[in-house]
Symmetry: C2
Subunit: 81 residues, 2 copies
């Protein structure tokens, strides 16, 4: 069966996020008030062929660890639909 797996990769909360700071500057320049903080990460959607949702999740977690996230700077969350 094919499962849709969503992986969210975000910068660690303790770290500065330069891309988020740049976006916040851009929003201020556009006159959009009220935005106090911005953090920018990646969102990856996989179509995984696996026998069970658990197996699909473990494949996605392995992909996240080995290729999609940098554990020094980012954390990831995996959700199987």
């Amino acid at each position: 069966m094919t499962y849709t797996v969503h992986i969210k990769v975000m910068p660690h909360k303790e770290l500065l996020d330069p891309q988020g700071k740049a976006v916040m500057g851009g929003l201020k320049n556009l006159g959009l008030a009220g935005v106090a903080d911005v953090r920018v990460g990646k969102n990856i959607t996989l179509q995984v062929n696996a026998d069970s949702p658990e197996l699909a999740k473990s494949i996605a977690e392995e992909a996240s660890k080995k290729l999609l996230s940098n554990p020094v700077m980012e954390y990831f969350e995996v959700a199987v639909m």
Copy 2:
């Protein structure tokens, strides 16, 4: 009040996603079988100061339209936590 708003920006389903194709090639090289399709987008978390969740959502939608997404190639989804 401060609301946490999640914005998901993904390439349109009809369009080719070169970044996703590159990731799929990388996964194949790592020996991770079973992944049939990959799409890569952005995930943006805003902290918005607003009087109501509806107002926070409309600020985030305006930010998405004006700065965070390219409507020709991407769609976005906004969710207020």
